[in-house]
């Protein structure tokens, strides 16, 4: 059990009160697992990813426990997290295009980064070179400034830097969304290669693009409005989802070979609730086509099949009947 998150609740502090961006998240990621985290914008997926790395204001830790490889992570304490960051848990940020220092040559920046973690750059250099080969970058990039690289190259360079110390958990936050399809595929496949080569033990891929997850992820976790909705193996989520939100989300995805004149796809009517004062009970209730009285209570995130977790009263009923 590589990562275990229990009851993690994180709010954003604003002048109007707390924004409940993440409530009672409980899940785990196994060793070598690539977990996809998907949902609409504003559903809290980036909050979840960032809270595991750097929980800084306006984010506020409310409750919860995070253990990585049996060790508890002090995520509420930014200072103490320094010992874990980059070594045990690392992130490829959403804005990887601008993540590198523009005034430093990349090699020098890597050296400074390693020195800050008291690691000898020279000893790591062969490793760094082999990682560059892994992502198809020439060794010359170490002598270049970030501005000399294209978007896809920068993305790959940041991937190499983030995984240099072989972290247990790598969080990849929307790393493919700014790229076009061919580089998307290359970057996604490299992520799998990193896992296979042991550069990182498990990966959490945050994205809104479920079709990318279908290609690379082992399991998918769907979030809605700050709450976990469903987690299961990739094939189960795509082919037999249980939560009504997952069903609607998947049916609204465009597919190759579907024409508007032949088969009309529809989106999900309505919009996600504001999390400043979220509705009580299941937060998907207002948009849900199968909502009923029971939905005013918050459904627990329960395992209904082996490794298949759902938070929906209707799904529980269906499961009990089946």
């Amino acid at each position: 059990m590589s990562l275990r998150v229990e009851n993690l609740t994180v709010y954003y502090q604003t002048l109007k009160g707390d924004v409940r961006a993440l409530e009672r998240a409980t899940f785990s990621i196994a060793d070598g697992e690539i977990m996809g985290l998907a949902g609409e914008s504003g559903c809290g997926k980036t909050t979840l990813g960032h809270s595991l790395v750097r929980l800084a204001p306006p984010m506020r830790f409310v409750e919860g426990r995070v253990t990585l490889d049996g060790e508890e992570l002090p995520i509420w304490d930014t200072e103490r997290m320094n010992d874990f960051r980059f070594k045990k848990i690392s992130i490829i940020p959403q804005y990887a295009m601008n993540a590198m220092n523009p005034t430093r040559k990349i090699g020098r920046m890597a050296a400074e980064l390693l020195r800050s973690r008291r690691v000898d750059f020279r000893a790591k250099l062969p490793e760094l070179r082999s990682r560059l080969d892994l992502v198809n970058l020439s060794h010359d990039v170490l002598n270049m400034y970030p501005i000399e690289l294209s978007g896809g190259m920068k993305q790959r360079m940041v991937m190499v830097l983030s995984t240099l110390l072989n972290p247990s958990l790598l969080i990849a936050d929307e790393i493919t969304s700014a790229l076009d399809v061919s580089s998307q595929k290359a970057v996604a496949e490299m992520l799998v290669a990193f896992r296979d080569q042991g550069c990182c033990k498990s990966v959490m891929v945050i994205t809104h693009d479920i079709s990318i997850l279908y290609q690379i992820a082992d399991t998918i976790l769907i979030m809605y409005a700050g709450q976990l909705a469903e987690k299961a193996a990739t094939a189960t989520i795509i082919h037999s989802p249980r939560h009504p939100y997952t069903r609607l989300l998947i049916s609204s995805l465009p597919k190759v070979g579907v024409k508007q004149s032949e088969r009309r796809l529809t989106g999900i009517p309505g919009s996600p609730p504001l999390l400043l004062d979220p509705p009580i009970g299941c937060r998907f209730r207002e948009r849900c086509p199968v909502a009923f009285d029971r939905c005013t209570e918050v459904p627990p995130f329960t395992e209904i099949d082996r490794d298949h977790f759902v938070a929906c009263w209707k799904a529980f009923e269906e499961h009990a009947r089946a």
Partner: protein, 316 residues
């Protein structure tokens, strides 16, 4: 209706403009009345530049764009204004298309000031409400709000409504749904398709092939400013011929096939090797989504004492 004839765009780049960048070179295609044409390419392929040239936001280096037979680069004054009434664009980022310090309906006010100074207040608000309803918005919910109070999907519909106010003939839709969430994407896309019966032509610029296939009749595939493949969407999708189109097809993340399967299928087709059914190339009843091209069917007994090797007949 709109014809592009050998248009090119050269940007001057480098410190003193000493270098040339050929963003678009010698591109020709046309758009008929009520037709949706998708322009597909990766970033840097010049698709947005073509859209901007059609909208006259950037001058053409060489070539000619004709709208109903008139060269648009010669338009001036009243004729240009008429052209703007006919051709409008909607762009990728709905949040950047608005001035954040003004209310979102200001975009309608500008249209009124510029094109309909004669209308009374009541006539104008009826027109705005009609346009908003046409894009599936409820006017009281969205009028009189600031851009940050509306969602991305609502803002994007606002922009389409603004274009509809002018009774346009051609809409240049430049990546209009790539910034939107999966749940609202399809609604905006359906909205575009529903505008077709009004006689509206759409140039749908995208990098997502599945969206292009969903909405358009014809597709133009661009690579580094050149057209590499063009034709009816179905034909291009079912039988991509250019290696680049094939690469694009293989890279699209899809929900029905994994990348390896798609690649395997294409490799078979590219090499012309009968990795699948040996009769695949000439067979009139191959199954596009099926396995005829990837798996060789085994000899199966169809009726007693009668064997056949065809997965279509045996249903395996």
């Amino acid at each position: 209706m709109l014809e592009l004839e050998g248009i090119s765009k050269v940007y001057r780049v480098g410190t003193f403009g000493g270098k040339e960048l050929h963003a678009v070179s010698n591109v020709s295609f046309d758009i008929e009345d009520g037709e949706v044409v998708s322009l597909i390419g990766e970033s840097g392929s010049g698709k947005t530049t073509i859209g901007k040239m059609i909208l006259r936001l950037t001058p053409i280096t060489s070539g000619m764009i004709r709208f109903n037979g008139v060269d648009i680069s010669t338009l001036k004054g009243a004729a240009l204004k008429k052209y703007c009434c006919d051709v409008q664009g909607v762009f990728q980022d709905p949040f950047c298309s608005y001035n954040p310090i003004f209310k979102a309906d200001r975009i309608f006010g500008i249209v009124r000031h510029e094109f309909f100074p004669g209308l009374t207040g009541a006539q104008w608000s009826a027109k705005v409400e009609g346009a908003l309803r046409a894009v599936g918005l409820n006017p009281p919910d969205v009028l009189n709000k600031f851009p940050h109070q509306l969602s991305g999907g609502q803002l994007q519909r606002f922009l389409i409504a603004r274009a509809l106010l002018l009774d346009i003939k051609l809409l240049v839709a430049d990546e209009i749904i790539s910034m939107l969430d999966a749940s609202t994407r399809m609604d905006v896309l359906n909205l575009l398709a529903d505008l077709k019966p009004r006689g509206l032509s759409i140039l749908f610029i995208t990098h997502d092939l599945s969206l292009g296939y969903y909405i358009s009749e014809r597709a133009v595939i661009l690579y580094r400013g050149c057209v590499v493949e063009m034709g009816s969407t179905e034909k291009i999708y079912s039988n991509p011929l250019h290696p680049y189109t094939r690469l694009l097809m293989a890279s699209v993340p899809r929900l029905d096939k994994k990348w390896e399967e798609v690649e395997a299928g294409l490799r078979v087709r590219a090499a012309g090797l009968p990795g699948g059914c040996v009769y695949y190339d000439r067979c009139p009843i191959t199954d596009q989504a099926g396995c005829c091209d990837s798996r060789r069917p085994a000899l199966v007994e169809a009726e007693s004492g009668h064997l056949v090797a065809c997965s279509q007949v045996t249903g395996q």
